[in-house]
């Protein structure tokens, strides 16, 4: 059995040798070295351990590194077409890296693991980048000429949607953080009247930034990005339409819940009217309650403005000054 199999293999070897036509005298020997385990009976072929014998092909001396044969004006992007580790035989620079031994120099580039460890940018020379840009150019389209400023972009595309894609050094492309959708819109670009403006602020709460007038909606409750995007658009639509509606119970608002201070029907109005009517009565002796006439006076209007400003804006120098002037005028001091 062994002899038969050996013969079959030997015949294969012979055929192959004839086919190559190169070193036919040696081809038998090269195959024989692999065969001697099976063809123990055949003594024609030499033994396996005979390294110095004629049977073994003499070991080729290692050739010169590529750096010796490089022209000065070669195409470097052919040497490093893509990102690759540092190859000392391909980089014709006398680079040294590492801490020098005592009274020595840093180790040379041949066999230097430190040079292999670090990332290199040998594949990104300016010439190579020019080639990349040239190759990408046909796929690029012009920026629309109508959108030549940021303001115009905001005007035509007021809603800005932000999504993030994640790449990591693993064999999985899934990242749960990629489903988060961030939608930003300026309220000035939405069509809102006074009531709608106040109502939308109440509906939205924390998501509105007063300094930048931006409403931010962040959705991450759905597992897919598309679902989160649809949900964000839905939320924006609903909030907008709800803010335009006036419910029946909105009329039941009490003074304490109102955002702004309204002077009409306030204790301040009652007090000033009382005071002025009594002053008038004391001066002229008439007790007619001519409230509209009193209200119509410019000093009273000024007083109203100053009090409203104080209550709404808070106490600062200018508002207090204005209040002082108004009070002086009203009380004719």
């Amino acid at each position: 059995m062994a002899a038969r199999s050996g013969k079959a293999l030997v015949s294969l070897g012979r055929l192959n040798g004839c086919g190559l036509g190169l070193h036919t005298s040696l081809s038998r020997a090269t195959y024989a070295t692999a065969l001697t385990t099976t063809t123990t009976g055949n003594k024609v072929f030499p033994e396996r351990g005979n390294r110095g014998g004629f049977a073994r092909k003499p070991r080729r001396p290692p050739g010169d590194p590529r750096t010796e044969k490089m022209a000065v004006d070669q195409d470097w992007s052919a040497v490093y077409p893509a990102a690759a580790a540092f190859r000392p035989g391909s980089v014709p620079l006398p680079v040294r890296m590492g801490y020098p031994v005592n009274r020595g120099v840093p180790p040379e580039k041949r066999g230097n693991l430190e040079l292999i460890k670090i990332p290199n940018f040998l594949h990104l020379t300016p010439a190579a980048i020019k080639k990349h840009c040239k190759a990408l150019k046909p796929f690029c389209t012009e920026w629309p000429t109508a959108l030549d400023s940021n303001a115009k972009c905001d005007e035509f595309f007021p809603i800005k949607v932000k999504t993030t894609d994640y790449v990591s050094a693993s064999n999985s492309i899934r990242n749960p953080a990629a489903r988060i959708v961030n939608l930003q819109v300026k309220l000035s670009s939405l069509n809102l009247d006074d009531h709608a403006q106040k109502k939308i602020l109440k509906l939205v709460g924390d998501r509105y930034c007063k300094d930048t007038d931006t409403l931010t909606l962040t959705t991450d409750s759905c597992p897919l990005r598309k679902q989160n995007y649809d949900y964000a658009m839905y939320l924006l639509t609903v909030v907008y339409h709800e803010s335009w509606k006036t419910e029946a119970w909105e009329a039941d608002i009490t003074r304490a819940d109102m955002d702004e201070y309204i002077w009409e029907d306030s204790p301040s109005q009652k007090n000033i009217l009382d005071t002025l009517v009594r002053m008038k009565a004391a001066a002229e002796g008439e007790e007619e309650a001519m409230e509209e006439e009193v209200l119509g006076r410019p000093e009273v209007q000024e007083y109203k403005d100053s009090v409203s400003r104080l209550k709404n804006e808070g106490e600062n120098e200018s508002s207090l000054l204005q209040y002082r002037e108004a009070v002086k005028k009203v009380l004719q001091l």
Partner: protein, 170 residues
């Protein structure tokens, strides 16, 4: 009836007898303790006679990483907020052992493993112990096997040397 009773009575007697025998033998068998020697021995080759060649990697100890040495394995999983660091480490350990065994006796230095997006790039320095055809076969074999194993493209970048690059002798 009678037999089990006697057996039950006999057992405790025997037990007591055994204990008493133990206590009465000569020699105290206590636990011996020596103070611990808290030496670091990770990846350290100690100073010897001066005939042992060391590569740069072996000459510097782990506390010199980021001072004199770089990192053998680079991936983004160790950054803030990234996941999968443990899986990448296990992969690294396996790949090192795999290559050590596949190219047995040919490895000149430690492997450098880089990850570029999805790809695993293994950079190795080998000695010229095998004929090139065998090297090519082993490279192809490792690449295809590891690619199928890790479900990502694995590339081997092998450089060969005549002999190891010696840094110093210890």
């Amino acid at each position: 009836m009678a037999a089990p009773l006697s057996a039950a009575k006999a057992l405790p007697l025997l037990a007591y007898a055994r204990i008493s025998i133990l206590c009465t033998t000569s020699g105290n068998r206590a636990l011996h303790l020596t103070p611990g020697c808290c030496k670091n021995q990770a990846a350290r080759i100690r100073v010897g006679k001066g005939d042992r060649p060391l590569t740069y990697e072996q000459a510097y100890h782990p506390h010199d990483i980021a001072h004199y040495k770089g990192w053998l394995s680079q991936h983004t999983s160790n950054l803030q907020g990234e996941e999968g660091a443990a899986e990448r480490t296990v992969e690294d350990v396996f790949i090192r052992r795999f290559i050590f065994g596949t190219f047995h006796g040919c490895q000149a230095n430690e492997l450098v493993i880089k990850r570029r997006g999805n790809m695993l790039i293994v950079c190795a320095l080998m000695l010229q112990k095998l004929p090139p055809q065998k090297f090519y076969f082993l490279i192809g074999y490792s690449e295809s096997l590891l690619s199928h194993f890790y479900k990502c493209p694995v590339k081997l970048e092998i450089q060969t040397l005549q002999d190891k690059a010696v840094y110093k002798y210890l």
